[in-house]
């Protein structure tokens, strides 16, 4: 009882902190940087990180196993990974757009996990026989860390695409703005600012705003590459440890189970991304397109396969009963 209350409290704290952070981020992006506000948002993210960590630990203690056995727990872990990735640049003093992307990602997963949709499976705490292995921690945590990093990196690529596309048809239309905004409201904000500045500053190529933007594009490109490379390592380790585990539990290291197959597809798509990076001509736009495809494929892999509830990984699926 104490545990579930504690869990409840921690869930709500982390959720509300993340929402506050997002608001702060939007404010800092719209208005000029308010250093104090920005600082507090960073501190808030660290608080969130500790809240979710506490949440995971409480769950671990009272369920007796590592909290990665179903979709709810994996979502919580995903948002934990997001906040972890978010914190790293805080110590390395890297650009703040990483946190602009990680913040909303964290709140979406956190919100989705804690929303009513998944209340059914939130209670289940038993571990099916196939999951009772030390490989569970290794495999699932690596996979989800990989997903988190890859999602983050591909979101950076998506935002790069959005910015460059807007750049090409600066004055032609603003009608698509809504569509883009719908897609990802936070990129919409970046864009919005850029557009504003364009109206104000004219289109002179050497204007400081343009310089800022090309700088931003370069940064986005670079960081999405680095973060995806990191996620790719996690994904590789995750898939391979899963294969070793499958050889212990199911009798074959690879059985073309849908989840396995989609993880492999994800791996291949990001391998393609890394290969497009080796070609100077394809850097930037083309690799960003590949990464955006990868973004969709991660979601198919993570949710789509579970929605269908097919294959050997079915314990991670939705249960609407």
């Amino acid at each position: 009882m104490i545990f579930s209350t504690l869990e409840h409290i921690l869930t709500h704290i982390s959720f509300s902190i993340v929402s506050i952070i997002i608001t702060i981020h939007l404010i800092t992006f719209l208005v000029d940087e308010i250093v104090k506000l920005y600082d507090s948002s960073e501190k808030g993210m660290i608080m969130t990180f500790f809240c979710i960590t506490g949440l995971l630990i409480t769950r671990w203690i009272y369920s007796g196993h590592f909290p990665l056995s179903d979709l709810y727990e994996s979502l919580i872990f995903l948002s934990w990974s997001f906040s972890l990735i978010h914190i790293i640049p805080y110590f390395k003093k890297n650009p703040n757009f990483l946190s602009t992307i990680m913040g909303p990602s964290a709140i979406f997963t956190q919100g989705f996990a804690t929303s009513g949709l998944l209340t059914e499976i939130r209670e289940s705490t038993i571990l099916v026989p196939a999951l009772q292995s030390e490989w569970l921690i290794m495999h699932v945590s690596m996979m989800i860390l990989g997903y988190a990093a890859l999602l983050c990196g591909s979101l950076l690529s998506v935002s790069l695409l959005v910015i460059t596309v807007r750049k090409k048809r600066k004055f032609f239309s603003t009608s698509n703005h809504l569509l883009n905004l719908n897609e990802s409201f936070f990129f919409g904000e970046i864009e919005y600012m850029n557009e504003e500045s364009n109206f104000l500053q004219n289109t002179s190529f050497f204007s400081p705003r343009n310089y800022y933007r090309s700088q931003l594009i370069q940064q986005l490109d670079y960081w999405s590459y680095r973060v995806i490379s990191l996620g790719f390592i996690f994904l590789t380790i995750g898939i391979l440890s899963g294969a070793v585990w499958a050889n212990e539990a199911w009798g074959s290291y690879w059985s073309w189970d849908p989840k396995e197959t989609w993880a492999f597809i994800t791996w291949i798509v990001f391998a393609i991304y890394l290969h497009t990076r080796t070609n100077r001509k394809w850097k930037g736009r083309n690799s960003a397109i590949v990464a955006s495809i990868g973004f969709l494929i991660i979601w198919i892999c993570y949710f789509g396969v579970n929605l269908l509830g097919i294959g050997l990984h079915s314990y991670g699926s939705f249960t609407f009963n």
């Binding site: 073309w256 597809i265 393609i272 396969v305």
Partner: protein, 574 residues
């Protein structure tokens, strides 16, 4: 700063010695201590005594020294190239042209030698494989192959696999095709009903494997050779053109070398020039990734062609022979000695949670050899298989085989349980105990149903619910005057057996892939510096962590001490 230097300087020298070994073959110094006098008057002394007869020298190379080495290197290169190409005309040229991929990958001849061997060797035969190589190592082709594989796999998850043709006739009818064209004809002709073993998929996969090899051979290895060849930049202009460049006034290049060394760089100094690099492994690692993938592919092929598989459901207390269960999967499958082993299921049981759900399945297995001697005994469970002589036995399934009961204190009787078909994938087993005259046409009796081994539901002759008994409770139940005690529910264990000779290879590939992928994250950073009067011009580039380079460099350059007096700098660096 001084105290720091006194320790790190010796490190600098030691590092350089390591490099010095490279040229041991060209120079030999008979003395164990080596006094080195630099051009500008500073003296560096290093005395090292080795008990072995190895020759050691320290080096902060002078330009003459360096040029000598380079000259010697060049003159030495010529004879080695002739050595490489010498056997070629004498040997069988077609074999070297077509099949020596493995050999040439390991020892690709240097460009000069390649050009020469073209003249000498029969290069017409070599021409075709080269063209094929060039096509295969084409990056867009490789990317297209990867996309094709991804698409085929995605399709393989959407089209239900391994069904009967009738299923596809119904699900993908020709008069109403999916997306306007995709009907059963496509699926069955292209083999998409068994996607992951279809010729198209395997063909694409092997094409990708060929591309991997070609790319490793034609693109990756040459780039590494270029990266390995460290070179000094002698003009400040060239250094300033690098991705990162900076100039430090009143600094000494030796100090910079020491600091770079402290940051993990390999540093080479030659007069006023400095070259340093870090993370060279990051350049090698992608080759390792490709080789690891090839290893996994090879292991997978061996698994597919050389393994045995089989599954069996054995009631508790019965035996089976391993060889009877296993069936070969490919032409390389050869049975082994251990196939004669007999497996006895001593016990099958389940663990339950308090809520009643199954926690774990266990099978207590004994292995007997041909003479009936027990050679191994192990209780297996899910995630905990038994391994013996290349055979692995997995716990994968279960069912109920019989109920053991006492009827009116007679018995015990074993009633065979039959699986009953119900909706969903829950299991249900049932049996029937006849009451009265067994020959009568209107036979009635007691029905017993079981979902698992925990509780048995009993129904009387009219089919009405009579009660529930747990096998371990030994509590009797009275149904229509008959006293029944359910003694036990006897389960049968569902085992899966396999032999797979590919697993060690695949695991080796997995290990290599994990390691090399991690190393691939490292960025190969190269730094050049030139002492230009009292100013040090620094330039650098890196292949991956481009964003962090300037921060890292600025951090390092901040540590470089500023020289106030030239005499002091002597002490610091010496």
């Amino acid at each position: 700063m001084k105290t720091l230097n006194s320790t790190t300087v010796s490190k600098l020298q030691l590092r350089n010695i390591r490099n010095g070994f490279k040229f041991k073959t060209h120079f030999s110094f008979s003395n164990n201590s080596f006094l080195y006098s630099a051009k500008n008057g500073r003296t560096l002394t290093l005395t090292l005594s080795f008990s072995s007869n190895k020759t050691v020298f320290s080096k902060l190379k002078t330009s003459e020294n360096q040029s000598k080495i380079k000259g010697n290197k060049k003159s030495l290169q010529a004879p080695t190239t002739t050595n490489i190409e010498a056997p070629e005309p004498g040997g069988a040229p077609p074999a070297t042209g077509g099949g020596s991929d493995g050999g040439t990958v390991k020892q690709p001849p240097p460009p000069a030698a390649a050009a020469e061997s073209k003249k000498v060797g029969s290069w017409k035969l070599k021409g075709l494989p080269k063209k094929v190589l060039a096509v295969l190592s084409n990056l867009p082709l490789a990317i297209a192959e990867m996309f094709a594989i991804a698409a085929l796999m995605a399709l393989g998850t959407f089209v239900p696999q391994g069904e009967t043709p009738d299923f596809y006739f119904q699900k993908y009818p020709e008069d109403n095709p999916v997306l306007g064209f995709f009907s059963w004809r496509w699926i069955l002709t292209l083999g998409f009903d068994h996607m992951f073993s279809s010729p198209i998929f395997l063909g694409t996969l092997s094409l990708l494997g060929a591309s991997l090899m070609a790319c490793t051979y034609t693109t990756q290895i040459p780039t590494v050779k270029v990266a390995k060849r460290w070179s000094f930049l002698h003009s400040a202009e060239a250094i300033r053109k690098q991705e990162y460049s900076d100039a430090l006034p009143r600094a000494s290049i030796q100090d910079l070398g020491v600091i770079l060394m402290g940051a993990g760089y390999e540093v080479f100094l030659k007069g006023p020039s400095l070259y340093a690099f870090k993370g060279l492994a990051g350049r090698f690692a992608p080759i390792g990734v490709h080789l690891a993938l090839l290893l996994i592919m090879a292991g997978g092929t061996l698994s597919a062609t050389g393994s045995f598989r089989g599954s069996v459901t054995v009631p508790q207390g019965l035996n089976f022979v391993i060889g009877d269960v296993l069936g070969p999967s490919g032409f390389l499958s050869t049975p082994s000695e251990s196939f004669n082993t007999e497996v006895h299921v001593n016990r099958f049981y389940m663990d339950y949670y308090n809520s009643g759900e199954v926690q774990q399945f266990h099978s207590d297995l004994s292995l007997f050899d041909l003479n009936g001697k027990e050679i191994m005994r192990k209780t297996i469970s899910v995630n905990n298989p038994l391994r013996y002589g290349g055979i692995t036995i997995y716990q994968t399934d279960w069912s109920l085989s019989a109920l053991q009961i006492m009827k009116d204190d007679e018995g015990p009787f074993n009633l065979a349980l039959a699986p009953l078909q119900i909706n969903g994938d829950k299991k249900l087993y049932g049996t029937f105990l006849p009451v009265g005259n067994a020959d009568s046409t209107n036979l009635k009796g007691i029905s017993m149903l079981a979902r698992d081994m925990q509780s048995i539901v009993l129904y009387d002759q009219e089919g009405k619910f009579a009660g529930v008994r747990r096998p371990d409770s030994k509590l009797p139940i009275d149904i229509d005057g008959i006293r029944i005690v359910v003694l036990d529910a006897i389960g049968s264990t569902g085992l899966e057996l396999k032999t797979d000779p590919g697993v060690p290879i695949v695991y080796a590939g997995f290990g290599a892939l994990m390691l090399t992928t991690c190393i691939s994250f490292l960025s190969h950073t190269q730094i050049w510096a030139l002492q230009d009067g009292t100013t040090v011009v620094i330039g650098g580039k890196t292949n991956r962590a481009k964003g962090e380079l300037s921060d890292d460099m600025n951090f390092l350059l901040d540590q470089v001490p500023e020289i106030v007096d030239s005499k002091q700098s002597d002490i610091v660096s010496g």
